[in-house]
């Protein structure tokens, strides 16, 4: 029996997400299944719909495998938001592994309709700006900034900027038309939206400090498609999913950050020092406290979720 997987995602085929992770994954499962599992990739949302609709597409079988952000649909996956709180993530590999463990405990109900292959986060978020660099919190005032998810939008608003929420493929267009003055994304996305040409300044936070934001991702398969696989093919998929894969993706994204950073002009990069970030962390703590209250209001164990996430990140951060 041969199986073709329709793999749908929002970035172009040339993106690091595809070249460093999705395509290699496809090649690996193809090799290990003696070419009986094949991917049919549809990059750049070729199958239609919008990036926020990718989750429903894989749940309903429009696509067989998708790579997407739970955070593109606010309110749907409250539990994983905790990883998107400011200053949580230091190393994407460790945090991706932690996210996998966390999801097994706290997010089973939210993801029950799909078969999760991996969960991961990206590396440090960076400000990419058209007009002026961000050196202090005051520089953010009045800037229209694109942010990916609910909490990052909130955090940016609390810092004084005006968040505009949109999926990453729209960033280049919005930036060139002046819809936004900048975007927060990791370096890894830079070539996929041409930020090295569209933005002038790249303001990153002190690399010794945790990232001021990250986003969570899922790599998920349609449940019926997975269940219908013969036992030996299921085994191939199982061998190529789970915590190990999650950690590898996190590592690949860190590598991609390095390549992406080399594409921007080094003289356009500035580092926001740890001393400045102290006041940002105060704001971040307020956001975390608000989030705990909000989760408690939904009947979820807010502070336990926060503590578990922190403990798991710390556990995997140890060398």
């Amino acid at each position: 029996q041969e199986v073709t997987l329709k793999v749908h995602f929002f970035l172009p085929a040339s993106s690091f997400a595809n070249t460093l992770f999705i395509q290699p994954w496809c090649d690996k499962v193809a090799a290990e299944s003696n070419q009986r599992i094949k991917c049919q990739s549809y990059p750049s949302m070729q199958l239609g719909g919008t990036p926020p609709q990718l989750y429903e597409q894989v749940r309903d079988g429009v696509a067989d495998v998708v790579w997407t952000l739970p955070g593109y649909t606010a309110g749907r996956f409250p539990s994983v938001e905790v990883f998107e709180l400011p200053f949580m993530m230091q190393n994407p590999e460790a945090t991706s592994k932690a996210l996998w463990d966390y999801v097994q405990t706290h997010s089973q109900a939210e993801f029950k309709d799909v078969h999760l292959l991996a969960t991961h986060v990206h590396g440090d978020g960076v400000f990419h700006l058209t007009g002026k660099p961000v050196k202090t919190m005051a520089d953010l005032r009045g800037l229209k900034l694109r942010a990916p998810t609910r909490l990052t939008n909130k955090f940016i608003a609390m810092l004084g900027a005006t968040p505009v929420s949109m999926p990453v493929p729209q960033v280049g267009d919005a930036m060139s038309k002046g819809v936004i003055d900048g975007a927060v994304v990791p370096y890894e996305v830079v070539p996929s939206v041409k930020l090295q040409e569209l933005s002038k300044f790249h303001s990153e936070t002190d690399p010794a400090e945790p990232a001021f934001y990250t986003s969570t991702f899922i790599f998920a398969m349609n449940k019926a498609k997975y269940d219908a696989l013969p036992a030996d093919l299921k085994k191939v998929i199982d061998a190529n999913s789970g915590q190990a894969l999650s950690g590898e993706i996190g590592k690949a994204f860190l590598k991609a950050d390095g390549i992406g950073k080399r594409m921007v002009n080094a003289k356009d990069v500035n580092v926001i020092p740890a001393s400045e970030l102290a006041s940002w962390k105060v704001v971040g703590q307020k956001l975390a406290a608000d989030w705990v209250t909000e989760m408690n209001g939904k009947g979820l164990p807010g502070s336990r979720m926060l503590d578990d996430a922190k403990a798991l990140i710390a556990k995997y951060a140890k060398p």
Binding site: T73, A74, G75, R76, K144, T149, T162, S165, M166, V179
Partner: protein, 171 residues
Amino acid sequence: MDQPVADSAALERLLDRLCDASAACGALVLMAMAGMTLVSVVGRALFAHPILGDVELVQLGGAVVVASFLPYTQQRRANIIVDFFTTGASAALQRRFDAVGSLLYTLVMALVTWRVAAGGVDIHAAQERSMLMDLPMWWPYALMLPGLSLCVVIGATQTWTLFRSPREVAA
């Protein structure tokens, strides 16, 4: 034969009024979007204080506007057709083609209406909300339904009229 004609004229007038009402609702939403955007731009320019979520309001509103405008287009038979290949055909044959065309239109709009409703139900169940304004995302889906349903009714009426009196010359 007089009675059905009078009935269909009355039905036609009712549909005209419903289409006007739907288009008017769409225009109100559109003007509200325009006003909101103006306030946001002025707030941004003068006070560095735009409306948070102005972009998503335009997206949500845009969907409602379009759905409210669709019935008027069909009522006026303004959805574009290609008459290039059928200019030589008899009026009766053209009318038969149009009957098939409006039947297909009706089926397509019925399918679309049903699926948008299903999508709204799904999003309601998933409690998805808009990113900045925290509005329930099923609202625009629900607000699209009156306009889309009206399209189905209009399509069905036109199909029925066209099939019933195939010899009548198109108005």
